[in-house]
């Protein structure tokens, strides 16, 4: 319905969330529906969709503005897609906070995956242009910058040469794109945001959804690695019955940069800003080694990290889910190494 009538949805945005849920459930607090209720949404069934209604209060005028989302849960992929015409501010205030709940997280597209999407679009459509983008640099990000790397900076750029400018700004100022407006002549214009929001601007909706799906698939590959990690106690048959032994499958972060002692200490400090408490820490010099146990205050999980400066092993400890790990990977990429990759084995 939405796809066939694009003219009716000039500001349509599609927001993607990875979830643990395979159904909407009832009103119980830990169901998907219950979660929306807790965040002040009314959930109305609409066949395969749910209409999510809430109110945004304008912080300046106190005006109450109704905000609606039409949501679809892909039970197999455990992917929630929410369609809306809400503004970025309204999204930020209403639905974005759900990423802080256990079992759900926005479709964070790593800088590497975001680059892949950009390359796909530009590669498949030689006449495609980047007409606008927003890129920024975190104060402490380790990503190289030729000019004054210590400066916190952001750029919003408009221009026909966005593609080249983005590369130049990345090289000279060490910034990473947050969103990019793509214009594919004769096909579609849309904005891709690294937090899993695709914003339709003009042309064929199918085209935007096609690339959104490819972004989803890239993130799902990461999710599969994170979900494969485990800490279990398994029974082993013995001569006299059975005994239990731990079965541990970690996941790994491979760094492109090398982490030195100062970087490691800084990373642990910065993780606090994202509500990760790192404790029981050991940071040794020489051949660099960093050990810490990390409590995710938002997702209420605990995991252990250990790094030799080139790799980081992440071992589950208590109630870890993909959402907590994805949040952690996002933080490491944003605070230390945007080119860090998530892998199942070293």
């Amino acid at each position: 319905m939405l796809i066939n009538t694009p003219g009716k949805f000039p500001k349509l945005k599609a927001l993607y969330f990875l979830t643990n849920f395979k159904s909407w459930g009832d009103d119980a607090p830990y169901t998907l529906q219950g979660m929306f209720h807790r965040h002040g949404f009314q959930v109305k069934p609409l066949g395969e969709l749910r209409e999510l209604q809430t109110v945004f209060v304008n912080p300046v005028t106190d005006e109450k503005i109704p905000v609606n989302y039409f949501a679809h849960l892909d039970e197999e992929k455990q992917l929630l897609t929410c369609f809306t015409q809400a503004t970025s501010e309204q999204i930020q205030d209403t639905i974005a906070p759900l990423s802080g709940e256990i079992g759900i997280y926005h479709l964070w597209i790593s800088p590497i995956a975001f680059d892949q999407i950009k390359s796909m679009i530009l590669g498949e459509h030689p006449y495609a242009r980047i007409k606008r983008f927003h890129a920024d640099r975190h104060p402490a990000v380790g990503f190289p910058a030729k000019l004054r790397p210590e400066v916190n900076r952001s750029f919003t750029y408009r221009g026909e040469d966005g593609k080249e400018t983005l590369e130049e700004l990345r090289y000279h100022y060490g910034v990473l794109p947050r969103y990019i407006d793509f214009s594919i002549p004769g096909l579609a214009d849309f904005r891709a945001n690294n937090r899993g929001i695709f914003h339709y601007l003009a042309g064929q909706l199918d085209c935007m959804f096609g690339y959104a799906e490819r972004a989803v698939n890239l993130v799902i590959q990461v999710r599969e690695i994170l979900e494969h990690s485990k800490l279990e106690v398994i029974p082993l048959t013995t001569e006299r019955g059975s005994r239990r032994v731990p079965y541990i499958v970690p996941w790994w972060i491979n760094f492109k940069r090398t982490m030195d002692v100062r970087d490691g200490e800084l990373l642990l400090e910065q993780l606090e800003d994202r509500k990760f408490s790192a404790y029981d820490t050991v940071v040794t010099e020489g051949s660099v080694h960093l050990d810490a146990t990390v409590l995710d205050e938002q997702k209420k999980s605990i995991f252990m990290i250990s790094s030799d400066g080139r790799h980081m092993g992440v071992t589950p400890r208590y109630q870890t889910g993909f959402d907590s790990f994805l949040r952690f990977y996002e933080s490491v990429a944003e605070y230390f190494d945007p080119d860090a990759t998530c892998v199942a084995t070293l």
Partner: protein, 353 residues
């Protein structure tokens, strides 16, 4: 002497002496903090070596996969108060158990190895207990000491000199390799002497060296780890388990320990004992406190003093409490010694200036 004595003395002194006592106390406080920090760091370094050594022997790890030698227990002799042997590795088919002691640093090689020999002898006496832990009869017991690569030469020399049946493993962090030192030329004789493992496949792997990233922390703490390490690892789990209610019983602590994957060889009695010990120390350093004091700690209700956002304060609380206690005792003694020295006419001019 108690901390109470220190305060009584401080209040009773004239200004000049009180000032001097406080100076001594502040100096002692710094010393005590440094010592505690060093002890904690040493404990973490030991744990790091334990995890490095354990990694290839974990379920589905390299060695387990190729030889069926599997890590089955940590501190297997803990129940009989023998802290030696950090790991028990067992082969279900050949019924061989390897008891491994990890030493991240060695100051007195003779003492360390002699302790190990004693522990090995205790293990022989307690074979039944070990069989209960592994759930099988044990045909052969082997002993290994694993040290950081820098110490292998000293340890090898001592073992050879005393002709001891101990395999020597080295952990080379630079190349991420765990290896066995060949202590003599004749392999057959070395096997007979207990310095190379009987199992040819295992011995071959270890002699060539096994990759261990040492980046899987399968053992966050050992039951005999430093109290601060244990508190830092356990209190956050309690905080999450207790949730918003923030009230729990000793049994909750025991349940946490029972669910720790690497403590599966600990029976109920040992877990209760460990829980009580952790609780007592946590209350002492004001990380946990009673909600409802009762005579029986198993019935009492507790709450956390630190919040989730203050987890990093656990180490500070531990260090502050203990350094203060140690410094008060030490400064009291130093002050008394000075007084005696002065009374005996031996005081230097700087002692009481």
């Amino acid at each position: 002497m108690s901390n109470h004595d220190y305060r009584i003395l401080k209040d009773s002194l004239i200004e000049v002496d009180r000032k001097r006592l406080i100076e001594i106390y502040e100096k002692q406080l710094e010393i005590a903090k440094d010592i505690i920090d060093q002890n904690i760091d040493r404990d973490r370094e030991h744990l790091r070596l334990v995890n490095f050594t354990a990694e290839p022997f974990l379920y589905n790890g390299t060695v387990h996969h190729e030889t069926e030698y599997l890590l089955v227990a940590v501190e297997p002799l803990y129940s009989i108060s023998v802290k030696n042997f950090d790991l028990a590795i067992f082969n279900q088919k050949s019924k061989v158990i390897i008891l491994v002691e990890c030493k991240s640093s060695i100051s007195d090689v003779g003492k360390e190895i002699n302790d190990l020999v004693l522990a090995s002898s205790t293990a022989d006496d307690k074979l039944k207990e070990l069989e209960n832990i592994v759930g099988s009869s044990i045909q052969v017991k082997e002993v290994a000491i694993c040290v950081n690569a820098a110490y292998t030469r000293r340890v090898r020399e001592f073992i050879a000199q005393k002709n001891l049946p101990i395999c020597l493993w080295g952990a080379d962090r630079a190349s991420d390799m765990l290896f066995m030192e060949k202590q003599g030329e004749d392999t057959k004789i070395e096997i007979e002497r207990g310095r190379i493992h009987h199992d040819a496949a295992l011995a071959g792997l270890l002699l060539r060296g096994i990759k261990s990233q040492g980046l899987i922390r399968s053992i966050p703490f050992l039951p005999s780890s430093h109290t601060c390490t244990i508190l830092e690892e356990i209190v956050p789990l309690l905080l999450l388990k207790a949730g918003e209610a923030d009230r729990f019983h000793l049994s909750d602590l025991r349940n946490i320990l029972m669910n720790e994957s690497y403590l599966t060889n600990f029976d109920d009695r040992e877990l209760w004992r460990l829980s009580e010990s952790i609780l007592e120390k946590a209350i002492q350093v004001d990380v946990l406190r009673y909600r409802s004091p009762t005579g029986d700690p198993k019935l009492a209700e507790f709450e956390t003093v630190v919040r989730r956002s203050q987890i990093r304060d656990i180490r500070k609380k531990y260090t502050d409490f203990n350094s203060k206690r140690i410094a008060e005792e030490a400064s009291l003694k130093e002050f008394e010694d000075l007084k005696k020295s002065k009374a005996a006419g031996n005081a230097k001019i700087t002692d009481f200036k």
